[in-house]
Symmetry: D2
Subunit: 263 residues, 4 copies
């Protein structure tokens, strides 16, 4: 990993915990903030972690963006999955370098970016999205995370079938995953895991039932929460507001069915 | 990834959501359950996801273990971090293949396994543990996850200094991280992230304060929760009990200090 | 309120936060604990808050039981509502002295005790229960809380109709509240509030829909949680386990329907 | 309880779950909404629960306000305790009609209103507040809830001492309750309960420690949460945002100290 910021590097420009921006460093590029503007080109050749002063003399810092930053600062047109969900999905699907992943419902590509980062450089993500305007947003987010070479976006309706076989894991993030589940069953390797992300409990009920019928076991659903703590010596307290819901995650693993050979 | 179970493969033997075991398949090995015994050697040459009948005729399934399973079924002598925490840590540290990670407090190695899986095959984890009995447990868990080649366990007191430099990320899971933080500052690459895991809020307060003094910004703390949902058509409800606390995660990123060159 | 413990007084015998018992003080009564036995009659004539030594010389304390203690130490055969739910119900129904309350589903009487304590001495609770074995348990719990005079238990099927009119509030805690809702509508005063307590989300959906159809507005559902904090100087942390679910509370308020006069 | 709305009645004017207002019905009073104005005097003589049409023909409903509504629609200048906290406090203090309560830190009077409603008509609340501007707000809120006759507001510094003795319960909602705790100990009846409400965990630690030293047992702390569920047939899901923190509640009960007679 490069230690110095180069032209084209993506940085997290940090002012404080609430004010930080994901930016590409370009020559002659100025970034305007509430504390004056910053000449990003001053950072070229400097190590990550360097201070940069704004035109008003305030300190900003050029940090290395993490997967979390790439997700939270992604361009989006829909509600995205949050790191609290995505992190758990990566562990529960066991995504590691070299895995081949199939995703249905690219959306803005937040989960796609995280999956690609988890499976690179030896793995690959095939992701399906029916809405061209989302493909465009996702491509932008994949490019900013420098993972476009590990992802193929299919502008297709996955309910009519998917390409490929022996995938190591599947991720579904669509409102009606039910017609797609049989195709996913066929595309997955034996014993491989799946997650379906659903905002409503009715979707969870239906998805769980269809997974069990289709040839999955270990079907279980969880929801995740995070709470911020404001740690300050002598006055530490949790943040007043928190996110109470993003979606439910239903997990399952494919089993070999008696008649699977004939499918 | 091998599609078939071989002698030596680690499987998740699944009976139902509450009863599953992480096992190594060995010739002539029987595994005894409440539903009779299973001859694991019958699985050799079968695809993952295969059914296996117990001596009493009950169905079990040989699933592929995920990172989550390796953590939750690890041998342990202490409270471990949970997948809900570890997943978020991997995203917030941005761990990807090729990263070099330094960890203080190997414990039973649950976090170490997950970090090694995230950075392999091109990365590496250096982990420090002072208690020989934990080193032994961690080695066992690393071996079961097949990641021992990506990890070096140092049976050393990290408060006296650590080896190496330009690490991409640091993980602290010790009761008194404070004397170690300056060494970690020196060992990290510029802008690189750190997490410190602490069961008590007093540790969080002190850690946050020392991080800010040492040369870190973006210091913030979160706690995570998961809740299980029992989805069953017409009677869906959350599980009665949940885990209310494991620990707080304090995150930060290294900045270049004015005098850093002289250190 | 009597300041001294008398024969017949109900006390909370306290050893520590985890070990306390709701007991009636009777002459010559010994209470056996893990720390020896206590002669409860020694407390007669002493003020509440007095220490009492066990036969092994350990200190116990005779505290005044609160509504919370009466609920948490009630004899029970079913899952009861918890104080976290009951406290909110009392506020959201606005129960105060003088109110007349109708409850369907007495169960072990935990909610009944709390409602009776909230409306006494001028109010009254009519509660319906179909299972004689629960009526017996509830009577015992009401007596221990000294509220039996404010409660009438009806051993009847409320789905066939209820007695009385112009109730100030209604509480439903049954698996199938739907056939009862029209009777409750008729029994409530105009604008009066109702709560229905349901373990499953499917019950919530159906109840909400039927409430809206029957002549209620302000239909909304909440769930409540509590988390214990173990406060100890320098090592404060939340408790490891917490209750993740008891039930959902659906609230609503009766409106006058155009044709209400003809009902 | 009066069944009909009179001049001077306080109503909850309901449009939908998110839009409702606590109003006093007065002759010739118009209330302006986003859906036109409502002539509140049309409601005089109508039963609670009646519909009223706005000038634009939209339906509003005149509901009976509950304790919850009086709290949530109170005039306030500070963060108030929420019903989720207050309901639990009332149960855990065992507040019932006839109790005498001492409160330190009236603030906007939200807790005071709820305590007065719980102890009326036979009980009483003595509440202390040092800031005249809050006394004024609290008086307004008490009047709107029609409980002013059950409350005495003391514009005094409670750390210099409090009047009265043998109180049944104490409520502390101040930033530095520590100098007040000895006075509260003296003012409480034997075995009587206390709650201290604190936004920060540091306050909790210090309060717990001082309570134990002063002569209290059963010292324990909890925090409470509620989550809203949006129940809609086929698309039921929790609300996106929730309140993550208001404050911690530390409970305790007074014991008789060996030397209490000399105090």
């Amino acid at each position: 990993m490069s230690r110095c910021i180069e032209e084209g590097s993506v940085i997290l420009l940090h002012y404080d915990v609430k004010r930080q921006w994901l930016l590409r460093v370009e020559n002659k590029k100025q970034f305007h903030t509430h504390k004056g503007y910053v000449n990003l080109s001053e950072l070229i050749g400097q190590p990550f972690g360097s201070e940069i002063k704004s035109s008003l003399g305030d300190s900003f810092w050029a940090l290395r963006p993490t997967t979390n930053d790439l997700i939270m600062h992604s361009t989006r047109r829909t509600q995205i999955m949050y790191p609290k969900d995505i992190g758990l999905i990566i562990l529960k699907l066991g995504l590691v370098s070299g895995n081949r992943v199939i995703e249905i419902g690219t959306g803005s590509g937040a989960m796609t970016v995280a999956a690609a980062l988890a499976v690179k450089p030896l793995g690959h993500v095939d992701t399906y999205e029916m809405r061209p305007e989302f493909v465009e947003i996702a491509e932008k987010n994949l490019k900013r995370a420098s993972v476009q070479e590990y992802v193929a976006i299919h502008l297709n309706d996955a309910s009519k079938g998917v390409e490929g076989a022996e995938f190591d894991a599947a991720i579904l993030d669509v409102g009606d995953p039910w017609p797609i589940i049989p195709h996913i069953y066929t595309a997955l390797a034996g014993g491989a895991p799946l997650v379906s992300f659903s905002p409503t409990i009715n979707q969870v009920e239906k998805t769980s039932s269809i997974l069990l019928q289709t040839g999955f076991v270990n079907v279980h659903t969880i929801e995740s929460f995070i709470r911020e703590i404001r740690a300050e010596t002598g006055k530490t307290r949790p943040a007043t507001m928190m996110i109470g819901h993003t979606g439910y995650m239903t997990f399952a693993q494919k089993i070999q069915r008696p008649n699977a050979a004939t499918e």
